[in-house]
Amino acid sequence: MQHIKPKGIDRELKKGSAELLILSLVESRARHGYELCKLIEARSGGVLTFRAASLYPLLYRLEDRGWIQGRWVEKAGQRRRRYYKLTPAGAGVLASQRSTWREFVDAINRITGGEHA
């Protein structure tokens, strides 16, 4: 996969995996939108980036589905931000998406890795 340029990752793949990324990132604790952006960029080593115009609609969609919940929080010395946390329903979806993703990656690996074996 090295020769696939990061920015050229297929739109659909990115869209499908984006939900998984967000759900995973808010699993341990509630995070706000900008934080999510920075985390995705940092942890993917700059391979994955989100623009605000893509991230927020995704957050709202997940929220509409009841998988995450946004709440305005005012922390001492900071400005008010909207924090998203995983809901019980979202946790269920995350678990199932994770296993699907693993199966998918395993399958791909078995196919693509077979020639190296």
Binding site: G33, S54, Y56, R79, R80
Partner: protein, 891 residues
């Protein structure tokens, strides 16, 4: 750094998102962009490049695609005219938007629906009465030309029946009426068909049904000549009597009924449509034989007539005024002061005081409706104030004022329809309860019909629309500069709205207070009526009526022997402490008023002779009725020897006619209306305590005479029971049975029940006034609460600033309360003025309480003070929980 909020807003603005959602998205996204910009700048990116990169963050279809799917709120606003289709579509959109807003602001909607539905229910109930009494067509074919002729005495306007000779004179003299009929009702004994029983007969002239224009469902009415002397007896049955007595069999018209021993051939059955009001109590109709030699001072006939098509009601009235004057001159002893009153058939079916009560109820519920509508207008204004920013945005986007007003009106319409539906249900419940509690058969005809439904629909549409347009016009005229700046919560719009709200609160308090005072006066009147001392002991007293009709009883001596024998049997019956017989049931039945001359006093003119109600009693009357014998005695067996030439007078007669001395031993002679003696002098042997004749009048003078002198066909037995009156009942019935199996016994029941049912209608009317007043009060208090609570919310920034500057919370609460209380005081002052006007208008229906009754006023003012203080204190107290720092930061 540029204003990213503005950038985001411009990206979203064409989408018309719901305001709250848009605000959130704008805030969240703009923060993100600001964070990004700061970060880029911190890394050393030049300003213009950072700016470009940040703007690129928004450059994606995802956001617009997402936003496009969100439900858009205030809809695309049509600018300018628009086709008919788009107007209809817009209306549908208004409806949808209105419904959504109402669902969102459930609290306010509930307040509006609750208050408005109560007011609509109250108005609907009163309208149901008006519908029954005034609007519904009477089942009389000739109603347009039908008139009723009453006698009235100059000094009061009570409608009285006419005398038979007067009727004969009217009938021969009138030029404006073409047919006159007369009716008199009388209970009779029916025998020959199972148990003997007392039934109600109406004696009518042969043309009566044709004058009324009522038809028979079976057979025929009376033919001319059937009311002539010596004609064989014929009878027409009422529909309900035919159903119960003859099982509705068509063969009934070949049968006969025996009334007071005389046989009447049944010739027809009357339509059931006629069975309204007290006419429904009539079981059988028989011809009335007009005896021109009857007494002119006995008023017994209800007279009806048909106006000639050429004569107006006014012409008839004028004719009968002249006629009355002629008869006054001709028969001064009987007709002095007697006038005739000609009423249209419609007016005749509604009692005189019914009009006043109905009008008063209409005023009261009308005021309640005004209070409720003022409340609705307050809520609308408050919501409009809270929405002024939304309205300003919509106007800036090109919405016309008409379009905004339409939106408001549509919202109110939805609330009105919901209130109408709830109100109809409440009215149905109220009417059902009234019917269940009322003893008047007429009120059983109260119903929810097309008239009523139309009224409710009209009210639920008109009230909210009319009261919504004013606030809507005001709200749709915002100060764009102020309102668009945002944060203008204390701005000009709410000041303007505040003034209107203040006026509405003042109006609510004023109207509700007037309603409360008027209803309070009615309640006090009815309570006073109930507490009028009767003069006798109604507890543990049973009464029953027994008829001594022909053919079994034709002679007075024979009747009296039977009465004495029954009294003996009753006195010996178990559970009976004392038994007596009377010609009339005290208080409930009217007694005849008689004139008399006092021996040894100069004889005045006939019209100035002393008068008294004449009662005729036998047995232990004083003990049985529980009336104190103040002096002397009642009848003794020895009085029989003197031909019963004895009498007892009551305390009032003694006070009036024998002031400062005892009447015992005095002699009086009963006279006719012309002052001619009608019998031998009577010796007064006792003085008995007063018994009232009607709750609303002081006890009249009364003269008691032995029943033996002139026993009537109908006698009432009064029995004081020693224990449970329920136990004595069967014993009384069997005592009469043992005497004669053919005697018709009726109305065996406790006297207290009969007094209570006399007052039942008044109690129901009182309950209605009280309920309507309570509704008015609750609605007004809800209005005061709403306005104060709204003021606290609107002024929280101002209050917070003051609190931050060191003002005390208690002081702020006082400030808020003070403003509301000032409005209440102004409203109360106006309301007291209105109440005084209303009170003086209703003076004629008040009893035992002056129109300016200080207690009523004091209670109403106290109730309002407590209610008003509570309604302002509860919301004002919220001020003390304000955290000025938090409020100011948020704003």
């Amino acid at each position: 750094m540029r204003d990213f909020k503005d950038v985001v807003r411009r990206t979203l603005v064409r989408r018309n998102l719901p305001a709250a959602r848009e605000t959130e998205i704008v805030e969240e996204l703009s923060e993100h962009l600001e964070d990004r910009y700061r970060e880029l700048r911190a890394r050393g990116t030049p300003e213009d490049r950072a700016d470009r990169e940040v703007l690129a963050e928004l450059d994606a279809t995802d956001l617009t695609a997402y936003v496009a799917r969100l439900p858009s709120a205030p809809g695309p606003v049509p600018i300018g005219g628009g086709s008919r289709a788009s107007i209809a579509g817009g209306l549908l959109q208004d409806l949808r938007f209105g419904a959504r807003l109402i669902a969102r602001e459930r609290g306010a909607a509930c307040v509006v629906v609750a208050t408005l539905s109560l007011a609509i229910a109250a108005n609907t109930i009163v309208f149901a009465f008006a519908d029954l009494l005034l609007l519904r067509p009477l089942p009389l074919a000739n109603i347009d030309r039908l008139v009723a002729v009453y006698s009235i005495q100059a000094q009061n306007t009570d409608r009285q029946p006419d005398s038979i000779p007067d009727f004969v004179d009217m009938r021969s003299a009138t030029q404006t009426l073409e047919r006159m009929s007369a009716m008199t009702r009388q209970p009779v004994s029916m025998t020959g068909a199972g148990e003997p029983r007392a039934i109600n007969a109406a004696y009518v002239t042969a043309n009566h049904f044709r004058v009324w224009g009522v038809s028979t469902v079976l057979g025929r009415g009376f033919l001319d000549g059937e009311d002539a002397h010596g004609h064989e007896g014929v009878a027409v049955l009422s529909h309900h009597f035919w159903k119960t007595q003859f099982n509705g069999a068509e063969s009934a018209i070949r049968e006969a009924v025996t009334l007071n021993g005389r046989s009447y051939a049944v010739v027809g059955v009357l339509t059931p449509a006629i069975e309204i009001g007290n006419i429904s109590q009539t079981d059988v109709w028989v011809p009335l034989e007009i005896d021109a030699s009857a007494r002119r001072d006995e008023l017994s006939l209800a007279v009806f007539a048909l106006r000639k098509p050429s004569a107006s009601l006014e012409a008839t009235q004028a004719e009968f005024r002249a006629l009355a004057e002629g008869l006054q001159k001709e028969h001064p002893a009987t007709n002095a002061g007697r006038q005739y009153r000609v009423l249209s058939g419609r007016d005749a079916t509604v009692g005189g005081s019914t009009w006043i009560i109905l009008a008063l109820l209409a005023v009261v519920v009308g005021l309640v409706l005004v209070v409720a509508c003022a409340n609705v207008a307050t809520v609308v204004l408050s919501r409009a104030s809270a929405r002024h920013q939304e309205i300003a945005v919509r106007i800036a986007l090109g919405a016309t004022r008409a379009r905004l007003v339409r939106q408001f009106v549509v919202e109110n319409l939805l609330l009105g329809i919901a209130s109408g539906a709830v109100g109809l249900l409440l009215a149905y419940g109220g009417l059902s309860a009234f019917k269940a509690l009322s003893t008047e058969s007429y009120f059983q005809f109260l119903q929810i019909n097309a008239n009523l439904l139309a009224f409710v629909v009209a009210l639920s549409i008109a009230a909210p629309v009319v009261f919504g347009v004013g606030p809507a016009l005001q709200a749709s005229k915002p100060d764009l500069n102020e309102d668009l700046k945002g944060g203008g919560r204390d701005g000009a719009a709410s000041v303007r709205g505040g003034r209107s709200r203040s006026i509405l609160v003042v109006a609510q308090v004023a109207f509700a207070l007037a309603v409360l005072v008027a209803s309070g006066l009615i309640v006090r009147s009815v309570v006073a009526l109930e507490h009028v001392p009767l003069g006798l002991d109604a507890a543990d007293m049973l009464t029953m009526r027994v008829r001594f009709d022909p053919p079994g009883y034709t002679a007075d001596a024979q009747r009296f022997r039977t009465i004495e024998s029954i009294l003996d049997r009753l006195s010996a019956a178990p559970g009976v402490a004392a038994a007596s017989a009377s010609r009339h049931l005290p208080i409930i039945d009217g007694e005849p008023s008689r004139r008399f001359a006092i021996a040894g006093q100069p004889l005045p003119e006939a019209k100035d002779l002393p008068w008294a109600f004449e009662a005729a009693v036998a047995g232990e009357y004083a003990r049985a009725a529980g009336v104190g014998l103040l002096d002397g005695r009642l009848w003794r067996p020895e009085d029989r020897a003197s031909g019963w030439g004895v009498a007892v007078v009551n305390r009032e007669a003694a006070r009036r006619y024998w002031p400062a001395r005892s009447p015992i031993g005095e002699h009086v002679t009963m006279t006719d209306a012309d002052g001619r003696p009608t019998g031998d002098p009577l010796t007064i042997v006792g003085v008995i305590d007063n018994v009232i004749a009607a709750p609303e009048a002081p006890p009249p003078p009364r003269i008691y005479r032995p029943l033996a002198v002139r026993p009537m066909a109908s006698v009432v037995f009064l029995i004081r029971t020693a224990g449970d009156p329920g136990v004595a009942g069967p014993a009384l019935r069997s005592a009469v049975r043992e005497e004669n199996r053919d005697l018709a016994v009726s109305d065996l029941r406790p006297f207290s029940d009969q007094i209570a049912s006399e007052l039942r209608t008044q109690n129901l009317i009182m309950a209605m006034f009280a309920a309507f007043a309570a509704i008015g009060f609750v609605v007004a208090i809800a209005g005061i609460y709403g306005v104060t609570a709204f003021a606290v919310t609107q002024r929280r920034r101002e209050i917070s600033v003051r609190l931050a500057l060191g003002a005390s919370a208690a002081g702020m609460a006082r400030l808020v309360m003070g403003r509301s209380l000032r409005l209440i005081v102004i409203g109360a002052a106006l309301g007291l003025g209105g109440a005084a006007a209303l009170g003086s208008a209703m003076r004629s229906v008040l009893f035992g309480v002056p129109a300016t009754d200080p207690l009523t006023y004091a209670i109403v003012v106290a109730v309002f003070t407590i209610g008003g203080l509570t309604a302002t204190y509860v919301p004002a107290r919220r001020v003390t929980s304000f955290d000025p720092a938090a409020v100011l930061k948020r704003e």
